[in-house]
């Protein structure tokens, strides 16, 4: 069995969100991943973010490909529609789904194998189209589900559990995303829940394609010495550069920051994204600087994390296609049928 139903336990004192729902209302089936798998932490992060943003579960849609990571869409938001598609092709299904109804919140979950090998083309093209969705790339450097082969994200010089050394350069989703015009590019680590949750919230609120490349260790096949995607390696080298806090409309900004430290970005829903620089001279609204930063750190062991780039001004797929706000499935047929008389008239040119 790949999933078990989780018993819903309602404690009286459980905190509720703006909809009056408790955290458990955002749970899904019981995970069947290996104990300690990074993907489970991402699942927990997603659950918390949806809960805290007070998004009604049935107004969210989960889309995934194939892999351990892609399985996780069954493990959160049990009251949402979910669709586990085919290997590497989640972006296309998400694109079609978003096109049909843009009024829902879409989260795509994929792995590094799913997105960077078999699905590289679709991954890139979804970014080019700026499909309005959050895209979680749960990156463990291996194919977990097929038992530990190197993925295209395996770092140069990394060793596999069996001792092979990877001598091919890795595909880095972050620099790839920056180069194809993605409008929200972030990197996170499954071990830093607070950063992860704030990025997920920001990504869900971003109008357009939001990529979060999450270092999400595979304890069964890629957590050994010599791996560059292990917990130990991630804890040692990960480096938060920009912190992002989503603040809904009308909510006070509570944390106190030093002047000049904050960069506010206005979001489409009226909320604000408070970006906090953790490193000097870095501005996540500057694509060239973001690129430079990512490239500088590529050759070092340092893994920069946080919201590395954001552009809230670009048109999303819906706007690019000049679509009306009403979902396609809600337009009554009477508005779609040109009518028999129009058909008659247009056939003059065929005579």
């Amino acid at each position: 069995m790949s999933s078990f139903a989780k018993p819903l336990i309602r404690r009286k004192d459980a905190p509720t969100n703006d909809l009056g729902l408790i955290r458990a209302d955002y749970d899904g089936a019981m995970s069947t991943l290996c104990a300690g798998c990074g993907h489970d932490s991402v699942t927990a992060g997603l659950t918390r973010a949806f809960f805290e943003l007070s998004i009604a579960p049935h107004k969210a849609v989960k889309v995934s490909g194939i892999g351990c990571s892609s399985k996780t869409t069954a493990y959160f938001l049990g009251q949402s529609h979910g669709i586990n598609t085919v290997h590497g092709r989640m972006p296309a299904v998400a694109t079609g789904a978003v096109a049909a109804n843009s009024a829902l919140s879409y989260v795509g979950v994929s792995g590094d194998g799913d997105s960077l090998s078999i699905g590289l083309g679709q991954f890139v093209h979804a970014m080019r189209r700026n499909v309005n969705m959050l895209y979680m790339l749960e990156n463990n450097g291996v194919y977990g589900l097929t038992k530990g082969q190197f993925s295209a994200a395996a770092d140069f010089g990394a060793s596999s559990k069996k001792g092979e050394i990877n001598e091919q350069p890795p595909l880095d989703p972050v620099s790839l995303a920056l180069s194809v015009g993605a409008t929200f590019v972030a990197r996170a680590f499954s071990g830093d829940k607070d950063q992860l949750v704030s990025l997920i919230k920001a990504g869900l609120k971003h109008k357009g394609f939001a990529l979060i490349d999450v270092i999400s260790p595979c304890v069964s096949f890629n957590d050994h010495k010599g791996s560059t995607k292990s917990y130990a390696h991630a804890y040692k080298y990960y480096h938060p550069a920009i912190h992002a806090d989503y603040v809904p409309v009308g909510k006070e900004i509570t944390a106190a920051y030093q002047a000049g430290e904050l960069l506010p970005v206005e979001m489409h829903d009226g909320g604000t994204l408070q970006l906090r620089k953790l490193q000097n001279g870095y501005d996540p609204r500057d694509r060239a600087r973001a690129m430079a930063k990512v490239f500088e750190t590529k050759d070092s062991d340092e893994t920069v994390t946080g919201l590395l780039y954001i552009d809230e001004t670009q048109k999303d797929m819906h706007a690019l296609n000049r679509m009306e706000a009403r979902p396609l499935n809600e337009i009554p047929y009477a508005e779609l049928n040109p009518g028999a008389d129009k058909l008659e008239a247009l056939q003059k040119k065929f005579r």
């Binding site: 849609v61 092709r89 296309a92 049909a100 296609n321 499935n329």
Partner: protein, 607 residues
Amino acid sequence: MSALQSRAALNDFTIKLANVNGTGSSSANGLLMKAIFRMGIPVVGKNIFPSNIQGLPTWYEIRVTEKGYHGRSGDVHLMVAMNAKTYTQDLAELSPGGVLLYDSTWPHPEFMNRSDITVIGVPFARMCNGAFKAARSRILMKNMAYIGSVVALLDLDMKVIHELVREMFAAKPKLIDLNLQALTLGFDHVKEHFDGTLDIKVEARDLTTGKIMIDGNEATALGCVFGGATFGAWYPITPSTSIMDGFTKYCRMFRVDPETQEHKYCIIQAEDELAAAGMVVGASWNGARAFTPTSGAGISLMSEFIGYAYYTEIPMVLFDVQRTGPSTGMPTRTQQCDMQICAYASHGDTCHILLFPSQPQECFEMAAQALDLAERFQTPVFVLSDLDIGMNDWMVDALSWDDSYQPDRGKVLSKTDLEKMDKFHRYLDVDGDYIPYRTLPGTDPKGAYFTRGSGHNKWGSYTEEGQEYKELVDRLRNKWASAADKVPAPVLKASKGSSNYAILSVGSCDGAVIEACDRLEAQGVHLDYMRVRGFPFCQQVEDFIDAHDTVFVIEQNRDAQLLNLLLVETNVAREKLVPILHYSGEPLDYRFVFQALHEALALRKTA
């Protein structure tokens, strides 16, 4: 002359125009065909073109057929030879008694080797070089000049031609005079230098009222618009591309809000066919009427998603405009070579619903039917036309639409439905019709379910239990089989006499088969004819085969794909089915069918 070739007669002959592609000839040739149509005489047009943009041989065939047949004749009575590179072939193809019209700027004495034809030379290049300055217009006007000569030879109504030229260049009035001048050049030259009489003559009739000339792809696009499709994803591939061109054109015409300029549709040019199929799956899953047009190579790529949609029960409409395979094959030549792959596309036990239009008007109707069937049965539905249907202009009855039509959106639960229910199970056969209910995202928390291509049971949960798996896939098989009565019914043409012999055919073979039947009938040979229009086959198909001793299965592929499907999916006796196969890539002509049947029947009589 072989017994099968027939001489030209009034309003009954075939013109073939041999050109070089990229020289603008096809619009001139189309104009010629349209003129004959407007004079009230039925026509058949076939564009035989290369997979190339400029410089290779291309032919346009216009059959003038007072009887209104849909197929090619197999004869050529007037060859307009405008491509020196194909002279030898074009000369050889001309039927005895035929006429060769060529550009005599360069003399070709070898044309005189055939004493059974009339050769008419007109110095088109020289005349056009004298009359027009710009290099490009010299090339273009040569087309109009030969049309002028043909007008003179056939006695066409010049008024009709002028009217068409004016319509064609309505947006560029400067070109009207140039074109009329070129027409006159060719016309006058023939009138001055040729005074013989020819068999090829056109006389006005009133046989095209209520008819239109349209290609199958344009009709398909209209069918999608009227059928209420709101989402289309595609990747360009000949010969299907013009479906999306048409859909785009008509959506812009009818689906843009005049005030806000906002679209009530979404068209995405995908990065490949895998993505196009995935987008259709996503859009359909989310409740939009969605389709993708493609051709064989695209079906190969889409196969994984087709199996996914089949197993997860997501509606999906695919238009496969078949072209010659395998692989890239001959991309601009026609065939019916994807019937088998579409019937069972994807790995694992899969079977799909197929519709087979035979001409554009059926493309229009079947497009809307396919959208209905896909949502009713929650499964992929294929409409298999071909290059001949899709890209050639056919004379068909004008399209009509019943405004009382309401799309069949299938078994989709609303919020109110869900509120009344105790619990929703996605794959439960509640009504005993093998079709479960589905819900759309966003409707109600109660409607939530998880769609997966991995093993699932009737409750919608993951399973690896053999029994649960079997129960579900057995239902899928039954669901598919139950579509047999819902796909368009076969069309039967009974012979006048009683016959133990019959024909079974499909799609664009229809015109040639009907004509061959008529001609055999005239010789006292009786053949019943059934054209299948849907798969799974309904009982009538099996009964028809059972009722005859021998059934010739006529189709356009090498491997007898329709015949194979009949053997697999019905209980008919194998020895009854005799294949007649045409797979050169050119549209079928009645002579081929006639000859094949003639020989097969003679063989059976002497045996």
